[in-house]
């Protein structure tokens, strides 16, 4: 991402939305709404002075709501471009009419409360969709108790908890009481491979859960990790070896059986009910925290964007691509790569991106005669 940010021939229009696409056969005009971030992108250097003084607060979406951020914020520290954004819904000036503290402390003069969203059009020869994924909100799977039981969190929340730059500085402090979670259950297939929810395998959960379980053991060798899985679908090169390592070197416990229900005791310890299908026994396991490997879905806006661009999606909102040209969508000149066209992991997404770039090059040379 840093490479792309620095590249002289790549222009990143962050904090923007596509509003429309006109034209055909490599002669498109794309309309892009550049939302007002109330901070001048070319002036701000993300020094962070405003953040230290901003009185507004909102849940931090990047930290999966595990902590609060200020109303003026940097979405995440490695983001490109590294500039602040004011969230008008939580900014004291925008909601109550006075404050403007950030404006006062910014010695660069980067704050601009008068900034308006503007629509720009660009002539383009091709479009690549790479809108990525969102995760399924598992609240409606009431038997897992997400949203009701405090110590049941999603894989992405866990990712933030165990991350050194995360809200707990990388300590596995569980949400209910901040106690370090020593016994953690990782529940696979939450909404995935489920005909009532996402009837496909999200494909990344088995591997990231193994990684998560190993990380927990690395942080605290005394801890216990349990992975509850339907079938382990670690199908990539060396993936199985990774699982073997988790079992042998890290002592991660693997239990075959989809978790049926999660209950809670008086101390908010989740109790996981499941059938160990190998032993054919129904059991309950008391743990200190549960991590749900929730199904990955196409990004929330992907379906709308696809409609805007006139490309077909499947019933789940994944962009449809051609079987023989997996980067080509239903509309010539528009290509797709990564999770927006179907579940895939990072290495696969990277190779798909290269493929899409190559298809674009070929397309342009054919249509524009370069």
């Amino acid at each position: 991402m840093l490479d792309a940010g620095r590249h002289p021939k790549i222009r990143i229009l962050a904090y923007s939305e596509v509003e429309g696409l006109k034209g055909r056969d490599g002669n498109f005009e794309i309309k892009i709404r550049r939302k007002a971030r109330y901070v001048k992108e070319d002036v701000c250097n993300a020094c962070g002075m405003c953040v230290t003084k901003c009185p507004g607060r909102a849940l931090d979406a990047f930290d999966m709501g595990l902590r609060k951020r200020t109303a003026i914020y940097l979405y995440f520290s490695q983001g490109i471009p590294a500039v602040m954004t004011i969230d008008p819904e939580h900014c004291i000036y925008f909601t109550k009419g006075r404050c403007r503290t950030c404006e006062k402390v910014c010695d660069k003069g980067a704050i601009d409360f008068e900034m308006k969203a503007r629509v720009e059009t660009y002539p383009v020869n091709a479009v690549i969709l790479a809108t990525g994924l969102d995760i399924l909100d598992p609240s409606h799977l009431t038997h897992y108790g997400y949203g009701k039981l405090k110590n049941v969190i999603t894989g992405l929340q866990y990712e933030r908890l165990i991350n050194a730059t995360g809200p707990t500085g990388g300590h596995l402090e569980r949400p209910s009481d901040g106690k370090l979670a020593k016994k953690v259950a990782y529940v696979q297939c939450v909404g995935s491979r489920d005909l009532n929810n996402c009837a496909y395998c999200s494909s990344v959960c088995c591997m990231y859960s193994i990684k998560d379980a190993m990380l927990a053991r690395e942080h605290d060798p005394e801890s216990d990790s349990y992975i509850f899985h339907t079938d382990l679908r670690n199908v990539g090169k060396w993936f199985q070896k990774y699982e073997k390592r988790a079992r042998e070197e890290y002592g991660v416990n693997f239990i075959r059986g989809r978790v049926a229900q999660i209950e809670e005791d008086e101390e908010c310890n989740p109790i996981v009910w499941y059938e160990d299908t190998r032993l054919q026994e129904v059991k309950a396991l008391k743990v200190e925290m549960v991590v749900l490997a929730t199904a990955a879905t196409p990004a929330k806006g992907a379906r709308g964007l696809a409609r805007l661009l006139g490309v077909r999606t499947d019933p789940y909102g994944f962009i449809q691509t051609k079987p023989d040209e997996p980067a080509d969508t239903s509309r010539p000149g528009i290509f797709a790569c990564g999770f927006c066209k179907g579940p895939c992991d990072i290495p696969e997404a990277v190779s798909q991106a290269s493929a899409a770039a190559e298809r674009v090059a070929a397309f342009i040379s054919q249509t524009a005669g370069v």
């Binding site: 059986g257 059938e275 299908t277």
Partner: protein, 379 residues
């Protein structure tokens, strides 16, 4: 119906063997010999002999928890029903509980010239014809059978009619009404269900009703989901009483309850109809009611532990005591039920020597009717 057909009809071939059914099953928690997953697997191997002669097929409560959670949408309870139909023919009958009295009542209802008494509804406003019909089902009969545990089926029926009267509805009732056939259906006696459906639908049509109100979730389920398959267009609309009450709840005044109450979801209402908020809305419309929720509620509620009158063993008692303990742990003094069967089974378990729980089990209709402000005396 062959075993193969049962597998196809229930889509059991989609089974992932993930074990969520067995893990969710209230019976499997206490009875290691019973496992929905293994039942399906055995059937998938088309092992007729073992599938049909397994006594554990009568252990299934048909509560539908496995159906709701199954990622492959296998209709396990439907599969069980088909299997039971076949097992019955192969000579594997379930044990009929309560000394077969309930079965015999059914036989009586099927005897020629059967005309039930409606005297149990006296002093309430009913008619023999009308647009709205009230289906009481087996309630008064159950009253006699479960007198020893203090179950008051008649009171549930009377309370329902009282509430309807309070809303200005004077429901029609009929002497020709018979059992809805719910238990016959789930124990695989489809011919019997056909006969009963025929009698009931004809009896109701004769009253000229366009809407039939049910206070029993099981009867409602049968009329809404099963009867149309058997008799085609019913000619009237089955409605659950809660929906009728909710529409006009503002018109009725209730006396304060002054108690902590919790609610036992009915399998048919919560899991099949998705009626989770309605009973809670009605309960919370009562003044001064301190409503608390059990951990396992709504679609995750635990079945009252016994159904279809085919199993009543130590396992069933354990399920019931477990549920009652959960209800009491909320601090509630009253456990409200909407299914008469829940009421019977939980009341019965309260008297078990292993049950150390003190809680009142009261039907929702009875609770509502007994708190009607002003008007007539209690039923």
């Amino acid at each position: 119906m062959s075993l193969r057909q049962a597998v196809v009809r229930s889509r059991a071939y989609l089974c992932l063997e993930c074990g969520i059914c067995t893990g969710s099953c209230p019976v499997s928690r206490f009875n290691a010999a019973y496992s929905p997953r293994l039942t399906v697997e055995r059937a998938l191997l088309l092992d007729e002999e073992e599938s049909l002669h397994d006594h554990e097929i009568w252990a299934c409560l048909t509560c539908g928890t496995c159906d709701v959670r199954c990622p492959s949408t296998v209709d396990f309870t439907g599969f069980m029903r088909d299997l039971r139909e076949r097992a019955r023919k192969a000579g594997n009958d379930g044990i009929c509980t309560h000394a077969e009295t309930i079965e015999a009542v059914l036989d009586l209802q099927l005897s020629p010239n059967f005309r039930r008494s409606t005297s149990w509804l006296r002093s309430l406003q009913t008619s023999s014809r009308g647009k709205v019909y009230y289906f009481g089902g087996c309630l008064p009969f159950l009253d006699v059978i479960f007198e020893d545990i203090g179950f008051e089926g008649t009171k549930i029926g009377r309370s329902s009619v009282r509430l309807l009267n309070a809303l200005g509805i004077r429901p029609a009732v009929s002497c020709d009404e018979v059992c809805c056939g719910h238990d016959a259906y789930w124990t695989g006696r489809i011919d019997l269900v056909r006969t009963l459906a025929d009698i009931n639908v004809k009896a109701i049509r004769r009253t000229g009703a366009k809407q039939v109100i049910f206070s029993c979730p099981e009867c409602f389920y049968m009329f809404k989901h099963i009867y149309p398959d058997i008799v085609g267009d019913l000619g009237f609309e089955p409605v659950y009483i809660l929906n009728v009450l909710l529409e006009a709840i503002d018109k009725v005044k209730f006396k304060p309850v002054n108690a902590k109450v919790t609610y036992q979801d009915s399998c048919r209402l919560a899991r099949i109809e998705g009626m989770v908020t309605e009973p809670r809305q009605v309960l919370q419309a009562l003044p001064d009611v301190d409503f608390v929720e059990m951990q396992r509620m709504g679609k995750d509620a635990i079945c009252c532990g016994s159904s279809n009158w085919v199993s009543c063993s130590r396992v069933n008692k354990q399920i019931q005591i477990d549920r009652l303990t959960e209800a009491a742990s909320t601090g509630a003094k009253i456990l409200v039920t909407s299914c008469p069967k829940c009421n019977i089974h939980l009341r019965c378990a309260l008297r078990d020597e292993d049950c150390k729980v003190d809680i009142d089990v009261i039907d929702l209709m009875v609770l509502l009717a007994s708190h009607l402000g002003g008007g007539k005396r209690g039923t």
